[in-house]
């Protein structure tokens, strides 16, 4: 309070240090004070406010310079907010400030089939995927695979319309523990390993309707994504 009143005099005293009644604390101590105040403050504090709360003769601005340097590269930074100062966690550590709850879900049948076709036939166009699956591929399905970073765009096919192709990514290989998509076992090997389902679903209507996304995607203009 009184320090507040004294502030203009303090500045004056700087010019005539002899008149100061109190020795200001050492700069290291002033830095500690600023550190503690900024830590405990519920909102950014101006250097004027800081100085007002510090003992007579302190130089908050200088203490802030030292403090800012001290926190450089640390997990916490001293940042300027308008005219005021605040301590903030380093932006690169933001990921620590979120606690994620992870829920694992099985990929849909449409997604896993699309993914399988891309893996076995890459680079493969959307039209080719549809031909192999026998149903249209919904935009959502491909978006999901792209978002999961298991699939990415490959080169355009040098055919009329220059369709985009899809290929699998490194993180796909990582996830499935493959060195290379070529390592995927062929049909004969799958059969030998007993991996072929003994009774596939009858072809036709049931599957097409199961892929509800596809119908929706057709309506909502999947062409935007796949045909340019």
């Amino acid at each position: 309070m009184t320090e507040d009143d004294e502030q203009p005099q303090a500045e004056a005293a700087d010019e005539t240090p002899g008149e100061s009644l109190f020795e200001a604390p050492p700069m290291g101590e002033q830095e500690r004070m600023v550190e503690a105040m900024l830590f405990a403050a519920s909102e950014p504090v101006t250097s004027r406010e800081l100085e007002a709360r510090m003992p007579h003769g302190c130089d908050a601005a200088e203490a802030l310079v030292h403090l800012r340097k001290r926190y450089e590269g640390r997990g916490v930074h001293l940042v300027r907010v308008g005219e005021a100062w605040a301590m903030r966690t380093a932006p690169d550590l933001g990921f620590l400030m979120t606690r994620e709850t992870v829920e694992t879900r099985k990929l849909s049948r449409a997604a896993i089939e699309t993914l399988a076709i891309i893996a076995y036939h890459q680079p493969v166009t959307r039209a080719e995927i549809e031909e192999i699956r026998g149903v249209s591929v919904s935009r959502g399905t491909v978006d999901q695979l792209l978002e999961m970073e298991w699939v990415r765009f490959g080169r355009r096919r040098m055919t009329p319309g220059r369709p985009v192709t899809f290929v699998v990514t490194e993180s796909f290989l990582d996830h499935f523990g493959l060195e290379n998509a070529r390592d995927l076992p062929g049909l004969a090997e799958l059969r030998a390993a007993g991996l072929l389902e003994s009774r596939p679903r009858p072809e036709g209507a049931p599957e097409a309707s199961e892929d509800e996304d596809a119908e929706e995607a057709v309506q909502t203009g999947q062409s935007e994504l796949f045909e340019d």
């Binding site: 830590f39 405990a40 829920e103 896993i112 076709i117 192999i132 499935f176 523990g177 049909l187």
Partner: protein, 267 residues
């Protein structure tokens, strides 16, 4: 009963000789946290270490206090009176020679326990004071003023195994191989179709005719269609025989199967 009333009365009624003692007592009973607290306050007036306290003296002090309270018509809570009665009993135990026939703890034991209780209460009071005298959060030291909350984020991870992937692929690629299991309508000639066709033709089959000639047009080129049509036509022929409308014959194994209209009924 208020503080003032009590102290006025005391001042008015107490003799000079009693005043020193009374000073310790001039407090309304509500100010005490029970008889033990009162005893502790009285004990302090002895100005000795609690371990060296005269419990007998203390009992006398307490009883005097209670007497005074009665004189002043201060209504004492029941537990103060219970304590008074107990202290009177303790006093008699301490003053009289021990009765060898009496069981239970001796006066000294009871006195020692009372002293222990007082000392323990005193110690806890001091501990409480020390505790409250410590630096305290929000008074002497501070927590983060602007805590950054930890965001709870729900993330869905989709999983698939290599097996899922391979099975999915196998499922797609082997669909065609299972064709025989699929009723492929355009390559199937059903028995019903064959029967319809033959019913219309049987009237003209007066002579033995190879059932192959009953196959529909164009069904003898594709082997799949040929087989289907042959089977259907044969089945339909058997049905006609069962109905008594036709006869079948085969001259030898693998020879053509011949069919003709059954004439018997008309004859």
């Amino acid at each position: 009963m208020t503080d003032e009333d009590a102290s006025d009365n005391v001042t008015a009624l107490s003799t000079v000789a009693d005043r020193l003692e009374a000073e310790a007592l001039v407090v309304d009973v509500d100010g005490y946290e029970g008889p033990l607290d009162l005893l502790l306050t009285l004990a302090r007036t002895q100005k000795v270490d609690l371990r060296k306290i005269s419990v007998l003296g203390l009992a006398q002090q307490y009883l005097a206090f209670v007497e005074k309270a009665k004189e002043l018509r201060i209504e004492l809570a029941a537990d103060y009176l219970v304590m008074a009665a107990w202290l009177a009993f303790l006093k008699s135990r301490l003053l009289l020679p021990p009765d060898p026939e009496e069981e239970g703890p001796s006066g000294e034991e009871l006195a020692a326990h009372l002293a222990f209780q007082l000392e323990r209460l005193q110690a806890m009071r001091q501990a409480a004071a020390q505790l409250m005298g410590r630096d305290q959060l929000g008074r002497n030291f501070f927590a983060r003023g602007q805590p950054e909350s930890v965001q709870q984020k729900k993330r869905v991870v989709y999983s698939a195994t290599l097996l899922d992937l391979m099975q999915a692929y196998a499922r797609i690629r082997t669909r065609d191989e299972f064709r025989p299991f699929v009723m492929d309508r355009d390559k199937v000639f059903t028995m019903e179709e064959a029967l319809d066709r033959m019913r219309g033709m049987i009237g003209f089959a007066g002579t033995w005719t190879d059932i192959q000639s009953y196959l529909p047009d164009g069904w003898d080129e594709d082997p799949v269609k040929w087989r289907s049509a042959t089977a259907a036509t044969f089945a339909a022929s058997l049905e006609l025989v069962k109905e008594g409308k036709a006869e079948l014959r085969q001259s030898e194994i693998f020879a053509p199967i011949e069919l003709r209209r059954r004439e018997d009924r008309r004859d």
